[in-house]
């Protein structure tokens, strides 16, 4: 019998929520464990099997010099490497530090700064090594995660839609919260994957799945401003859990500049 493919799960700066999604696959977990060798998954097991690994799932962003080194080692040991979640694909909520004026971070920022090692920025995995696939979401959708694992184990591309949350609203029959309730929503520029969760709860999307492919952020911003959303709130909205993703970062920064000028 062919040997089972080896799966590894790695963690960087994160909340553990994305890897927990794997343990939250209560109905599928034991089947997955049957098909693959769980070679490295510290949250679940003490047993550690040496690399190389067929598939590495990486959660979290890079925020320390040590982690920047560690991710390169992991890349070398992994046939495929998939970044999972907003932290790993965009730098995550901790990337909010990237927007602070670095001049403010004068030498003695901590009670005991000499104890702490940290990089100035929180960056996604792809800023350090090549990544075979990025699965977005804060947290990832567990069914999409299972799809990604299955796809890589069978050597095919994962089937993950890149359209907007709006499409999911239509499919689910959720009435548009912007049109019907006047609630500002990031759905038009955010990638699907949550099944239009927030709109279904009468709440505007807050972008936790990150930008969709080619989002028209400028037109959405114009719409929000027309609706009377203050510019600072607009900046904060784009600067959330995926705020350092390029499209969202540029959008929030463009309004900040406008703010300073005006």
């Amino acid at each position: 019998m062919a040997r089972k493919p080896k799966l590894a799960v790695w963690k960087f700066a994160s909340c553990d929520g994305c890897q927990l999604s794997l343990l939250d696959c209560e109905d599928e977990l034991l089947t997955v464990a049957d098909r693959v060798e769980i070679a490295y998954f510290l949250e679940a097991s003490r047993a550690v099997v040496k690399g190389p690994y067929d598939l590495s799932l990486v959660e979290g962003s890079i925020t320390t010099p040590h982690d920047a080194k560690r991710i390169r080692q992991i890349r070398r040991m992994s046939r495929y490497l998939v970044a999972i979640g907003a932290c790993a694909t965009t730098g995550g909520i901790q990337a909010l530090r990237n927007f602070k004026d670095v001049r403010e971070f004068v030498q003695r920022v901590y009670a005991r700064p000499e104890y702490i090692e940290t990089l100035e920025h929180s960056t996604p995995i792809a800023a350090h090594v090549s990544v075979d696939f990025e699965l977005q979401g804060c947290p990832v959708n567990k069914y999409q995660l299972l799809e990604v694992i299955a796809a890589f184990l069978h050597g095919r591309r994962p089937n993950i839609p890149t359209h907007s949350v709006c499409m999911e609203c239509k499919r689910r029959g959720v009435v548009c919260v912007m049109v019907a309730r006047g609630i500002p929503c990031l759905g038009p520029v955010t990638q699907a994957g949550c099944n239009a969760l927030c709109p279904a709860y009468h709440r505007g999307c807050f972008g936790c799945f990150g930008p969709k492919e080619t989002p028209n952020t400028a037109s959405l911003s114009a719409r929000w401003l027309e609706m009377g959303v203050p510019r600072e709130d607009l900046v904060r909205a784009f600067r959330g859990f995926t705020g350092y993703a390029e499209a969202f970062r540029k959008e929030s920064m463009s309004h900040e500049t406008a703010d300073h000028q005006g």
Binding site: I38, A44, V48, I93, Y110
Partner: protein, 429 residues
């Protein structure tokens, strides 16, 4: 002279990344360090300048295992500033949501992270080969906890439905009714779990802890209460900072908490059980009596039984809340922001979770402080090891290492939580 060191570079089956270092000389322990090297994420620093309405969602990201706890403590602190109270069915829904998180978190720990230690397996997946029905039962229990969170909160990890003042949308009676049969099954299975874990072998080990937990006049405190201890502490939540302090130690990215003038203390299931036994549901009390576990319980290894008893309590109370639910007219108590400082403390699965915020009259956060349970327990964990290791020096090396890991896992430490904060003090010339 014989020197010996125990090193575990990556602690497994804990949430987050930590390491353990113990040094011994001539059979005496000379150093114990629980090192938390999970990188700091600076939540308290970047919360400044955000809106008060964002605190529940942002702080949820400190921990994917107990996001509801963060949402609850944050919401309550903000509500205290706004001068509103969330009561009646809205409060019941919060209670229900939180119980769902307790179930999910406790069952993850009991079945997947902790039980394998007692039965000699590396993981629950390995354990499932010999005990498939048991592991299936654990997964099912955990799944039902997750379903409660999903029905009320929208999804399991980082629910989207919680806001300051209540919810975005409240479930209908029918939506909640869909849980009834599952909760009944869960209640029975939780009782089985109590019996199962009570049959494990427990090391003979006790410590004289100071237990700290919330206490509520009627409920087994989870959403609110006064902060009590078995050694005389009895304070309101807003007095927390007068009685507790945090120390920055060189080897850990998490601050250590202690009671001013006294030292270490313990929060979490054992503390709640010992201080609030009389508030557990009658069914849970009966189960505790049946397996012979009554307060005071001072053996940290038995925390696995306490978690199981709390899970039984959670299913029992959840069922009552679901059966008595009447859909409220409005999902939220609305209020305008005003300047002030507010405090919130709730019982996360791992223990007391304290939040403090100061906001301005526009609702912008000026200052934030968050003290999660794991940083409060760090000193107690180290003290356990100072005493546990000398009593077990005759064990073979691998077994001693494993036992030490288990002693840490007794606390279900959530290292992601413990390192979220490390405050940035920005000094300007």
């Amino acid at each position: 002279m014989k020197r010996r060191t125990i090193k575990v570079d990556y602690l497994a089956r804990v949430e987050g990344e930590g390491a353990l270092y113990i040094r011994m000389k001539d059979g005496q322990v000379t150093d114990v360090k629980l090192k938390i090297y999970e990188p700091p994420r600076f939540f308290e620093a970047f919360m400044r300048g955000r809106k008060y309405t964002e605190a529940p969602d942002i702080t949820a990201r400190i921990c994917g295992i107990c996001p509801v706890a963060y949402q609850m403590s944050a919401s309550q602190a903000m509500e205290a500033i706004l001068g509103i109270r969330v009561e009646g069915p809205l409060r019941d829904l919060r209670h229900l949501l939180y119980l769902g998180e307790w179930i999910e978190s406790h069952m993850l720990h009991v079945y997947m992270l902790h039980a394998p230690d007692f039965l000699g397996y590396q993981s629950a997946i390995e354990m499932a080969r010999d005990h498939p029905e048991v592991v299936q039962r654990g997964l099912q229990l955990k799944k039902y906890g997750n379903e409660i969170v999903a029905v009320v909160g929208g999804r399991e990890v980082h629910p989207i439905n919680v806001r300051v003042g209540g919810f975005y949308r409240v479930p209908t009676r029918e939506e909640l009714q869909s849980l009834v049969d599952k909760l009944k099954w869960g209640r029975d299975a939780a009782l089985e779990t109590v019996r199962w874990v009570a049959s494990f072998d427990f090391p003979d080990f006790e410590m004289d802890y100071e237990f700290v937990a919330l206490r509520h006049p009627e409920e087994y405190a989870i959403l609110e209460g006064r902060i009590l201890s078995n050694k005389g502490l009895d304070i309101a939540v807003h007095e927390y900072d007068d009685h507790f302090e945090e120390i920055h130690v060189p080897y850990s990215n998490a601050l250590h908490s202690r009671i001013r003038g006294r030292g270490s203390y313990l929060v979490g299931p054992m503390a709640r059980f010992n201080l609030n036994f009389d508030r557990l549901s009658p069914l849970a009390q009966e189960a505790a009596r049946e397996v012979g576990l009554l307060p005071p319980c001072r053996n940290p290894f038995q925390s696995i039984i306490v978690r199981s008893i709390e899970t039984l309590h959670a299913f029992d109370v959840a069922l009552r809340l679901v059966e008595n639910y009447d859909m409220p007219d409005s999902p939220v108590v609305e209020a305008e922001p005003r300047a002030g400082t507010g405090y919130g403390a709730t019982e996360a699965p791992r223990g007391l979770l304290y939040h403090r915020y100061t906001i301005d009259d526009q609702g912008i956060i000026l200052d934030a402080k968050i003290v999660p349970p794991t940083s409060q327990n760090q000193k107690a964990i180290e003290e356990d090891l100072w005493h546990f290791v000398p009593q077990n020096l005759d064990l073979p090396e691998d077994e001693l290492v494993w036992r030490c890991e288990q002693a840490i896992r007794n606390y279900d430490p959530c290292i992601s939580c413990a390192t979220h904060f490390l405050k940035l003090h920005i000094e300007r010339e």
